[in-house]
């Protein structure tokens, strides 16, 4: 069966390997540039004691940065081009009776095919993730955004789980629909929908978020690469003050403050005593997931997607093994 799987899908494997190699070369070359850029920026800022303020620094090249963000979609490719046709193409061309009347049971046929494809998907997701994670090291240190949606999803172990899920989704769609193109469409839509629902609505609640209240004048930034879920200002009555859409001081619209605070909007740094007094009635708050939970969240996300993949593969197996050929 392994031989059949290889013989049938070697073109796909070779295409995948070539894409991975091209990505590796590109990210290795530009990644080394990013690293040396970061290194010299650190040397320069250490000399001038300005390392806490490097907001203007930009690392790497925009096109490659864009490509790195686009690896968000890479796991879906495994499901689309390897998963969806895996059984659908055979069912569609009517080749399955040939395979199913050799001296190999249907269960083994499916298990071996699926096993190799899952391995291929894991390698695909893993290699891309490893390259992206390494390439993004300096950026993570600079922007501290590794926990943010969009960055969390392209680094470390989550891409492996996404690729396994996409593969399982493709195989299940192919088994149910028995036609390649509809299966590919369902895989694409399903992948995007599930990923979006989990990232937007489920992931923020894997653990209950931490909320910190702070003095507006002193401000507060959680340590490390935390994930900020909400931020705002509470007024004297304890209710949130609307986000300023005009002149503001420390995030509070000037309408809520005495006239003595007005210069702050113009960029003044000195706070008059009356303005400071007025500001003590306001409190800032930040709701976030602390940086220390990063790996717990990666683990939970991976667990969810592997469980979904397992369910989909069970459905595919039930459909293929129970139904008539």
């Amino acid at each position: 069966m392994t031989w059949l799987t290889w013989r049938q899908h070697r073109a796909q494997f070779c295409t995948g390997a070539a894409l991975l190699a091209a990505l590796a070369v590109l990210l290795l070359i530009t990644g080394l540039q990013v690293a040396s850029q970061w290194h010299s920026a650190l040397v320069a800022c250490t000399a001038t004691h300005s390392c806490s303020n490097q907001g203007g620094l930009f690392l790497g090249n925009r096109a490659v940065g864009f490509l790195v963000i686009m690896t968000l979609g890479a796991p879906a490719l495994a499901g689309l081009f390897w998963g969806a046709p895996l059984v659908a193409a055979d069912l569609e061309t009517g080749a399955t009776p040939f395979a199913w009347t050799q001296s190999v049971t249907r269960t083994r046929w499916l298990a071996v095919k699926t096993g190799w494809m899952l391995l291929a998907a894991a390698v695909w997701g893993g290699v891309i993730s490893a390259l992206v994670t390494w390439w993004s090291g300096p950026n993570n240190a600079l922007y501290r955004d590794a926990f943010n949606p969009g960055r969390f999803d392209i680094m470390n172990i989550t891409p492996v789980a996404y690729a396994l899920f996409a593969m399982a989704l493709g195989i299940a769609a192919g088994a149910l629909l028995r036609r390649t193109l509809p299966a590919m469409a369902v895989t694409l839509v399903g992948f995007i929908a599930v990923r979006a629902v989990i990232a937007l609505w489920l992931r923020p609640h894997y653990m209950s978020a931490v909320t910190v209240f702070y003095n507006l004048v002193h401000g507060y930034t959680p340590p490390g690469s935390y994930w900020q879920l909400a931020q705002g200002v509470l007024g004297p009555d304890g209710h949130p003050v609307p986000q300023p859409d005009g002149p503001a001081a420390f995030g509070v619209p000037l309408g809520y403050l005495p006239a003595s605070c007005a210069p702050l909007n113009g960029g003044a740094t000195h706070i008059t005593p009356s303005c400071a007094q007025a500001l003590t009635h306001f409190r800032g708050f930040t709701t976030y997931q602390p940086a220390g939970r990063y790996w717990a969240f990666q683990g939970i996300e991976v667990g969810i997607f592997i469980a979904l993949a397992a369910i989909l593969l069970t459905v595919a197996a039930a459909v293929l093994l129970r139904r008539d050929a």
């Binding site: 059949l4 013989r7 009517g94 009776p97 040939f98 009347t101 050799q102 001296s103 049971t105 269960t107």
Partner: protein
């Protein structure tokens, strides 16, 4: 003689359609059985059930001493060739021979290569690019390379030209003579199978109409030709399969060997095709023991 296939009350229903009902057949070992019936009679369904590719809705079957199942030992004994010629379009014949070698413990790749070379079929071209007939020959060679004990062939000669048909059937007859192989091959054309088959399964309207040794079946069927008159006297001792009335005479296909005493009726022997067509009805809307009236009645 042991029977390779035995079914009882076998039925297969798809959501609304009954593909096969109450099917009871027996095929002894070493026979070439012709599975004949009009399109849609249930031939493909029966073969797929026997090959273990579909599960029956009701009834039971014994194939090679067991129930068709997903088990390497059973699958190794079955050679099945579907009507659609299932092959991987993008792979070559040589690739398929390789696949067969990996998926079967018993595999005679050399004979498959020899057979295809003798037919001038390229081994290194994607089978999707071969002609329909060539593709059928490739699939056939692969099925035989498996060296099965039971060969189930669904319309195997449909895609072949007349010469290839004759060759193919000759190969089949030789294989049966050499190895005690049992074959069930379906067709809706009697002429294709008459030459090689010695056993008949006749399906019509998803039911088995006849099943047995061809010579024995022919011996108990006769055509009676007589004047235009009622057939009630005949019906007392024999089963009327089909009666055709014209203005002058009545032709009746009967089953049963009881003597006809009425001198008005002239009895004649019958050929396979006549017998089969009698059961199927010439209007492709077959049914058991139906009466056909031609011309004005009374």
């Amino acid at each position: 003689m042991t029977s390779v296939i035995q079914t009882r009350g076998l039925a297969k229903r798809y959501r609304r359609v009954t593909a096969l009902s109450d099917c009871a057949i027996t095929v002894p070992e070493g026979r070439i059985s012709a599975l004949i019936g009009p399109n849609g009679a249930g031939k493909t369904t029966l073969l797929r059930l026997l090959a273990g590719l579909a599960r029956p809705t009701a009834g039971n079957m014994t194939v090679l001493g067991g129930t068709p199942r997903q088990d390497p030992a059973f699958l190794a004994e079955i050679g099945y060739l579907a009507q659609e010629i299932p092959l991987y379009r993008r792979l070559t014949a040589e690739d398929h021979i390789g696949i067969g070698a990996h998926l079967n413990r018993r595999w005679d790749g050399a004979s498959a290569r020899d057979r295809l070379r003798a037919l001038n079929i390229p081994l290194d071209r994607a089978v999707g690019k071969l002609s329909g007939g060539q593709r059928a020959q490739v699939a056939l060679a692969l099925t035989l390379a498996k060296e099965p004990r039971l060969l189930l062939l669904d319309e195997p000669v449909a895609a072949l030209d007349p010469l290839a048909r004759r060759n193919f059937l000759a190969i089949l007859a030789t294989a049966v003579a050499d190895s005690g192989l049992t074959v069930v091959l379906s067709s809706h054309l009697v002429a294709d199978l008459e030459r090689v088959a010695d056993h008949l399964i006749l399906l019509a309207s998803s039911r088995v109409q006849l099943c047995g040794d061809i010579d024995a079946l022919l011996a108990e069927h006769h055509v009676l030709v007589g004047p235009r008159k009622a057939t009630t006297a005949i019906e007392k001792t024999r089963t009327i399969v089909q009666a055709v009335r014209t203005a002058r005479q009545t032709t009746v296909l009967v089953r049963g060997n009881a003597a006809v005493l009425d001198p008005d009726w002239e009895s004649a022997d019958i050929g396979l095709e006549e017998m089969v067509l009698g059961y199927m009805g010439q209007d492709a809307a077959p049914g058991l023991a139906r009466l056909t009236t031609v011309g004005d009645d009374q």
